[in-house]
Amino acid sequence: MMKVIMGNHALSYGAKLSRVQVIAAYPITPQTQVVELLSEMCANGELDAKFVKVESEHSAMAASIGASAVGARAFTATSAQGLALMHEMIHWAVGARTPIVLGNINRAMGPPWSIWTEQNDSLSERDTGIMQVYCESNQEVQDTVIQSFRVSEKLLLPCMVVLDAFYLSHTYEPVDIPEQSLVDEYLPAFNPPYRLDPDDPHTFGSLTDSKWYYELRYKIEVAMNKARDEWKKANEEFENLFDRGYGLVEDYKCEDADLILITSGTITGTARIAVDILREKGKKVGLLKIRVFRPFPIDEVRDVLGGAKKVACIDRNISFGHSGIFFAEVKSALYNNSNRPPIWGYIAGLGGRDVTPETVMEIVKRTEESDTPEELIWIGLKKG
């Protein structure tokens, strides 16, 4: 059924269709709308789940870990400072191998206080071991929640579904909400190999000395590495059932492109418009959208970018003292590749600054006119 819904509710519908059993959440903007709808669904019997109100995001993730450890499918959602407060427990969820799905609405970190979009909140969780998927439409948000549970439970790794504040969270778009029976066919019930059970007592995450900790870390990396194929498989089967899908990356008009743009999140749709305008003017420009950020799609990035003469990466985030974070990741993926096009790094849209097709075309123009790659270019910066 096609319905016009906001991005926050796309997360809610994704969780409902995944038949989540426990939702633990603390209300913070825009949290209220994600879990407000889920709490209504729990109250009116539409969704057979336990809704746990907690006193902080740290507790929201802690409660989700507990639920997942006994074998329940758990979902939570947050933003910005809330995600930062969860940080310790995200490490715990990964180490305990609890496949929780977390919706994160990208909001800029304070101070100064901001409720507008920026990716530094989720990217600060880069090294925890949680998978990260960046979405560009409300349809993709809903579908990615469903796909995430499938991949996460297969690998016993948690996953973060990421969407831009306002540009998706508060924007209404038509979304195809599938039949429950179809989602049930795609996503079987969660049945973990190990679970907390009073009749068969074991523990999760107790003290492990240097004799085995190292190997347990290795196993997380093995799972992350497998995740690349699992995302591909999960997507192929999703396409078969639902007639739509999303790759680890998506390349647009890249085959003969001299210059390839790199984007994530909603800047992608805007950049696609810019690419179409530039193509009409005869410019060979393409676009690579990075959807799955962890695990990082190294092979796909190398394949798509290998033939380009120039690459321009747009980051709605910054690692202070270095560069844009997607830029650094892409550059690192290319370093040991035989084809290594020069790459320009652009910062744009921090704190919800609007990024328009004109912004993207300015980035293309600047890259075209430059002979030497620049790694940290601030686009649209006010003077003074």
């Binding site: 831009d164 540009y167 508060h170 924007t171 209404y172 778009e173 749709g269 805007t270 609007d354």
Partner: protein, 183 residues
């Protein structure tokens, strides 16, 4: 692609109006996107909402700077903010006003449509007399002027999406549609 900007005050239902229009456009078999001005809304303060209409899925995710049409839910905004900013030549301005279009003091290459949405909303008991909710009435005038959305689609969408009084809201839209004054 057709782009629309709505101007109202917090509590009049500008954002809900944009969402109802998006749902109606979907019923017409087209694609739509509706969003508020990104920020914090307060009752009585100026509120802006946006709408995109297209025949294909909409990938654009940025503010609308050059709308094709403007909807004004509250005529007292006229002196306060530049409601025609960026409006394309030949576009429609739909205003909640008891005046006829030729009495509206907006200069420029635009077409003006008026409807007394306040009176219609009060008549159908939408909101209170002091703070009537005029969004569904002004929607009726918008589709009469621009013909961008089917009447049956919007009436259906209003019935499905009204937080309260679905039938009265649909009647208000129909009454406004029938009583819109076009330039």
């Amino acid at each position: 692609m057709i782009e629309v900007r709505l101007h109202g005050r917090g509590g009049q239902g500008s954002v809900v109006a944009s969402k109802m229009l998006a749902s109606a456009i979907l019923k017409d078999g087209k694609w739509a996107q509706a969003f508020p001005e990104f920020g914090v809304e307060r009752r009585g303060q100026p509120v802006t909402a946006f709408l995109r209409i297209d025949t294909k899925p909409i990938g654009a995710h940025y503010r609308i700077y050059k709308p094709d049409h403007i909807i004004i839910l509250d005529p007292t905004l006229l002196g306060q903010i530049n409601v025609t900013e960026g409006l394309k030549d030949g576009g429609w301005i739909i205003i909640n006003s008891s005046k006829s279009p030729d009495k509206i003091d907006i200069k420029g290459n635009f077409k003006i449509a008026t409807v007394d949405a306040t009176e219609i909303a009060i008549k159908h008991r939408l909101g209170s007399k002091a703070a009537p909710i005029v969004n569904t009435a002004i929607i009726g005038a918008f589709i009469k002027a621009t013909q961008t959305v089917g009447l049956n689609s919007i009436l259906q969408a209003i019935k499905e999406e009204s937080p309260a009084k679905p039938e009265e809201n649909a009647m208000a839209a129909k009454e406004a549609y029938d009583n819109t004054m076009l330039e």
